[in-house]
Symmetry: none
Subunit: 189 residues, 4 copies
């Protein structure tokens, strides 16, 4: 029954986002998931594998969300804003997911394998970016650099919002998107 698997992943997310990888014993995950401690090992090889699987799941989820409503026929600025806002809204509506992802990204758990496994989820975006770059509407820069302004800045803003360091209202949000777009927009835009 994959119902149990889901409950385990949910419990892991909830606990790790709050207490960190090492503040979250397997026994606590089991308890929170409502399963026996041994049961976890029927679904995941070990703790590290469980965490990596959760990472991949969430990475896929956020990538999916980023692409929500993506339409390659619309102009770059609109696409950019949409992706940007998709990402931002996902983050502030899923703070636990974001915290987990960030924690994982900056931990020694991260392997090239887990990193690259998600790359091609954003394939449509890569293709679209190349086209926009070619047309001069987006600065000519590698996709990996582009993601800084459509992913990292967004995450950075969401973090400041969630931690309370920066109150992000409609106005501030607009400002941030505009700034990010100004960063990447090309001479022809």
């Amino acid at each position: 029954m994959q119902e149990k698997r889901r409950k385990i992943l949910d419990a892991t997310l909830k606990l790790i986002s709050q207490f960190g990888f090492h503040g979250t014993p397997m026994s606590l995950i089991a308890e929170q998931a409502g399963v026996g401690a041994g049961t976890i090992y029927r679904y995941f090889e070990n703790k590290e594998a469980l965490i990596m699987k959760l990472f991949l799941k969430l990475k896929a989820e956020i990538s999916q969300e980023m692409l929500n409503g993506f339409d390659s026929t619309r102009p770059p600025e609109q696409v950019f804003r949409q992706v940007w806002l998709n990402t931002f809204h996902y983050c502030i509506q899923h703070p636990a997911e974001m915290m987990f992802l960030e924690q994982y990204h900056n931990s020694p758990f991260l392997t090239p394998a887990s990193e690259s496994a998600v790359q091609d989820m954003l394939a449509p975006l890569v293709k679209y970016a190349e086209k926009s770059t070619a047309s001069g509407q987006v600065k000519e820069m590698p996709f990996e650099m582009l993601t800084i302004f459509v992913y990292d800045t967004t995450i950075a803003l969401a973090k400041r919002h969630i931690s309370g360091f920066l109150k992000v209202d409609e106005f501030a949000l607009d400002l941030a998107v505009q700034a990010s777009w100004d960063a990447v927009k090309g001479p022809a835009a």
Copy 2:
């Protein structure tokens, strides 16, 4: 003798940046530092305090480096570029320090206390930013948002460079700085 204290901090940085907080036992730190296990506790209350002290030290160091050559009489774009490049060069020349800082920033170790302890190190920059904002040379945005484009984007680029995902040569670097500046530059610039 503060020589030992320094060796302990050095060992902690080296090991934690490589193996993470919890992959680095105190005994290993002691060994790497060339001191007895108990000696660490003469200089630091416990593991958590050791890590926080290291964080504060590195945070002060990177803040210092960011402000290197800072001259408030020069125009905003030049100041921006300098700070940006200062930060970037610190990161790629001190990857261990950067990894540690990022790991700490995204961990449950982070407390409001350790966060705020560093805030005023960048005080000159805050003041300068306000002036630049007022003159219209920088977009009117809170300092906390500004830092996204002069700190987070820089770190993001450095990470991609270090992990090998993005080869950052002179040209790419220029591109990234320009993009970041485009993000924050105001109507009067």
Copy 3:
């Protein structure tokens, strides 16, 4: 399975009565009990709790033993002798238990909580003592003082016997009981 719990308590008693609280590491208790080191913590919160639980168990045991054959219809002298001898025989037949109890009684482990938890086990004796006091067959003294002559003197004798300082044969025993009774017997006895 409470079998393991019992084995742990047995091992603790044996080792602590011999080596003292701090001469008895948890690892040794585990080994002696034939369980894993971590297993102890499934049954007892920590070392201190383990020791307190053992204390309470033994205190209940000795109190039970003291009251063995207690019959409030018999005359005070007979009751006194019986209780006294019950106590003495328990001590010399359970030297480990006695050593442990005495060690605990004179240690900083002792808390008012653990002290008072046993008070009412001797309730029948308290009541009987009051009656005997009222009838003049026992000196009019607080129960707490009475216990000196029916508990402390007994323990003192048992200790001297066990340590070999005083050979306590039938004759010596009679002498000691008689002396103790002489201490508390009232004008009407």
Copy 4:
């Protein structure tokens, strides 16, 4: 300078009576005594030796006090009462000393050596007891048994007084001495 030696013993007594043998690190003793940690080892071989030396010192002290005003020409009852009261008053005026002695007596530190080293301090009393026994004024019992009623009962009373379990006023004190005397007094008394 034996001044330091005395300070170390004083500190040891104060701390151990309060926190117990194992709640009292050597470093704390050094601090309380106002000497360096290493200095203790110039006066005492190690912690165990320090504690034993303190025990012997206090044992001598209390023995001295017990014999205070001892006059072998006076009748047994008076001598008994005096020794009893000497002991009691020493205890309630020196609770730290008493607590330490009791803790030591019931610990695995106690060796036959440390026990017997004090025996002959009470030699005059032994002799006097033999005489009193022979004359029938004291029950014919070994000196070791006699001490139960002139030492252990006293300590037991003092403990109850200090811990607050039994309020010992003049009247109660008289009662206790009388009871103890009744225990040992012989047919000719």
